[in-house]
Symmetry: C2
Subunit: 187 residues, 2 copies
DNA sequence: AAAATAACTAAACGAACGTTTAGATAAAAT
DNA sequence: ATTTTATCTAAACGTTCGTTTAGTTATTTT
């Protein structure tokens, strides 16, 4: 019938994701996206609707990428040390890729914490709750803990992830490793 | 000679500070500032130069407000438990004022971590380094600790402050208190 | 080869941004 | 009371934002 797309949608989405990841939603302009994705504004809009839905797709793509890490975490049988390994995995993948952009979900969570964008806020809450429940399941593997302790520790680890996310944007790998060690010292 | 200002510069600066504090720099528009400060754009510009310098003044004003807390921390003689009290003080002042805006410095630190605004980034670094050194001095009060441990613990507490800041924007007071308790369990 | 149609380029859209300016207003000084 | 001068109002500035649209190009099908 007619001409075929000159680009791969998954490929350009990945590039958009990295841009959002590094700069956040607001600080990423359509102009920057055009340049980074290598395609025209028209093509972006025809493929992804608008900036907001492109961001949602980027988030979805990010979660798909980390879902392996999350599955590894869930399927592990070593309780707390699995969570610790999960923390290490997330910073290792950051440094291996040569960037220090932290965690896209945590970044987004922070950027939108006071916004009125309820759709994105809800998505973030779901992701965070999900992670919290995984932590709880892991902590339950240690039968010596009571439910109250487990809840507190799960919350503690979830908030520690915020510290980790902030750190993985500015601190050195050694400082981050020290932070992880200290975080798990008392659990 | 002529007419007097119809507003108090310190008062309107305080209002600007609270707006920046709650929404961040970029998400706060001149229109919002006009409304919140209760004065016209012209007055804002004639009193504070531009948005950027108004933000710098807001930061300065914020630091002046927390300087009491910081002085209390420095002058204490109880080492680690002084730091713990400092953590409690900062969240208490947040909840007492009926808002959950976290810490303006930490918010700014996060918002500008990947920006090119070197002036603000430098100011943030200075503030964070300053806090870190105070933590180190506190930790030194426990003579049983060696220098390597102290450095790691200071870094840990500084990053814990990021978790605290994130928490104080979304979590309940009880969850935040639990987080603080857990943070200091292993120090 | 011609017709059809989707992908492309590039220009323009209205709205909102931070900032400036011209003119009206009001209070202090003569 | 008049002059002077800083403060205020309100409109407009030039940019940039996200988004749309008209017109051109290229590829597939008839």
């Amino acid at each position: 019938m007619a001409r075929k797309k000159g680009y791969n949608e998954t490929e350009v989405l990945e590039k958009a994701m990295h841009l959002f990841w590094g700069n956040g939603y607001e600080a990423t302009s359509m102009q920057m996206l055009e340049k980074e994705m290598g395609i025209n504004k028209f093509s972006i809009y025809s493929s992804f609707g608008n900036k907001h839905s492109l961001f949602l797709e980027s988030l979805k793509h990010y979660k798909l990428n980390v879902s392996n890490t999350l599955e590894t975490l869930k399927s592990g049988t070593n309780g707390v040390s699995d969570i610790k390994q999960f923390f290490y995995d997330s910073i290792n993948s950051n440094f291996k890729q040569g960037h220090q952009k932290g965690c896209l979900v945590t970044n987004t969570y922070n950027e939108f914490s006071k916004s009125e964008d309820h759709l994105i806020k809800e998505q973030m809450s779901i992701f965070m709750d999900n992670l919290k429940h995984i932590f709880i399941e892991k902590l339950k593997m240690d039968t010596s803990k009571n439910d109250s302790t487990i809840l507190k520790q799960a919350n503690y680890l979830l908030l520690a992830k915020h510290g980790l996310a902030a750190a993985s944007r500015v601190n050195t790998k050694e400082e981050i490793e020290d932070y992880i060690e200290m975080t798990f010292n008392n659990i």
